[in-house]
Symmetry: C2
Amino acid sequence: MAVNLPLPVPANLKPVAGIELGYAEAGVRKTNRKDLLVIRLAPTATVAGVFTKNRFCAAPVQVCKTHLDKLATSSAPIRALVINTGNANAGTGESGLANANTTCAALAELLGCDASQILPFSTGVILEPLPVDRIKAGLPQAIANLKADNWYNAAESIMTTDTQPKAASRTVTISGKSVTLTGISKGAGMIKPNMATMLGYLAMDAKVPQPLLERMVRDAADKSFNCITIDGDTSTNDSFMLIATGAGQLEVSDAQSPDYAELSAAVTSISQELAQMIVRDGEGATKFMTITVEEGGSVEECRQIAYSIGHSPLVKTAFYASDPNLGRILAAIGYAGIGDLDVSKINLYLDDVWVAKDGGRNPDYKEEDGQRVMKQSEITIRVRLARGSAAATIWTCDLSHDYVSINADYRS
Amino acid sequence: MAVNLPLPVPANLKPVAGIELGYAEAGVRKTNRKDLLVIRLAPTATVAGVFTKNRFCAAPVQVCKTHLDKLATSSAPIRALVINTGNANAGTGESGLANANTTCAALAELLGCDASQILPFSTGVILEPLPVDRIKAGLPQAIANLKADNWYNAAESIMTTDTQPKAASRTVTISGKSVTLTGISKGAGMIKPNMATMLGYLAMDAKVPQPLLERMVRDAADKSFNCITIDGDTSTNDSFMLIATGAGQLEVSDAQSPDYAELSAAVTSISQELAQMIVRDGEGATKFMTITVEEGGSVEECRQIAYSIGHSPLVKTAFYASDPNLGRILAAIGYAGIGDLDVSKINLYLDDVWVAKDGGRNPDYKEEDGQRVMKQSEITIRVRLARGSAAATIWTCDLSHDYVSINADYRS
């Protein structure tokens, strides 16, 4: 079950000029499901992305990086992205790389471009050979139904254990010019992104040169996909891609301009929405938790404590049970690895309830107040460290029986 | 359910000369259960321990450290340990310290010694005031039934979510002299000790001076309680205590002597047994896993990778399901934080089955071989890094529906 995650309405997902999307049922792992997506870009588009820092990064991630690196010395732009589910093509060695390149070459031939102008992505089971022939066979079907108005189908095509498609769309006006942004994402396990999440794609019709786009996607990822965790497992395939088609009215060329700041803020905001959707649909999730750590000596130590709380199976099961067993949060703060932490100065709040004061139980804290907040489906945990002025926020979910069921049965 | 954990037989738990144990039903949290234990020591005994590194260390841990530190300048030995379950007396601030000291003073008065000669321990719920009056009221009952052959009752008295008592006992002969060692431990959640586990007590009748005993307990903990994890949560109350009563035949006074080495090996061995019992009875555990990482550049990086595997919820649920979804192990190796790890050199084995070869799937690996091993209740995961000659081993268990149930219901 997803936590307060409204099903996207196809009519609300605005087409982005310069983008067409086409899907196929390629039978990568299972039949009768959309499992292959092609995103075709206008030749004016720029593309930038961030990828997993897992050392076992998947073959398609390696190929993506190679093709993006070529942009620095080539005038041939990226023309398409191709994404399959059902198989991660990770832990597959040299043959995995060959299969990712074969996929690119096959799509390039159909679209009339070079293989290096294609970016490949995979998600699914690790350590199994990619069924590249099925993917090649599915490409013509995907190309045949390419259209601008296919975002909902695209969101469905990249789902794995997600219970519903994730998409967001909006139009903003910057300096009197309209910009349309539409994006999709998917989770729902192995989520503790380190540079990006499992898969996220965000397109807009503004014109943004490559170096500025790279900066914008890093900023957005740091404030969105890099602030979520479901189970602390960083995937081998994390990728978040930002596309600027250049087919709309706005052109941004100066990172110091107000237009850049406004566009970057819009990109970050919709990225946060897409990232939070992944948490809301986290495997087995029944609660959506915002963890904010304030008054830290550095952002890094605030993040460290926030993740220590967000990864604790004991904290997560207590939230699942709506049990205000809040000492578990103090324990997680205590083992976060901050050697000189003075716990006698720590204050802990659950929404508006002041639970721990100066390192101990707040004398005014009442169990029924904690209970009231714990029963909610959305809860904010706030920690004040009294060490400085830095702060960090992450988003996470609880740990339920269904998380175990889903992951025990994942391949069946 | 516990994994291959034989119920200790009371008659097999040998008394240790110089030690008496007495329990009470003090009603700390629930009625009609043993929840208070007093361990009385002969005046010749030495005691050393290791404690949690959690910054939110519990009040009794702080008092223990203070009383042990006093030994350096005092001739008054530790005379008793007092342990309660049902309440951790952690996250309780100044009043928690006062309550721990009150417990010591009450027991000291009954035993006719100074409060600083008592070591207090608590385990249970964090962030709740210790019901110190109930503990004081229970002390006379515990003292009334002090006796030498009470180890089984003692093991029962320190249980929380443990499904069965944990104890081990043996007699070794060193230089023709007999030494009896008997110990007890308890888990079963919030287990990722950092210096010691939740609670472990090991006594022997050898005579060992304080500085040597301190060295011996650190060595033993590093090779036993510091090598286990259930859920990655380091408790606020971890304590492992080693007692040498001096009432037996052997006296060890030189850390370079063969006798010291033999005694230290016996202490380490029985500590490993007690530590592994905690994993075998880990909350919801159905599988016992040994994770060995070899050919590392340092012991630290081997431990880092072993814990990354051992903490991964996705690895743990796959083992629960007996599903050889072994790419999850590669992913956990990849995000362990070893920046220069060359994944193309990594080999992975499941017992005798060679799963991944040089970073990819071993061409000779067959799913049915992985399946065969995964169905066992005890499994060894072996990783070869091809970076050096260091190695490390940890022990852990799987993640089941019951783990979630137990921790969702813990306080009810």
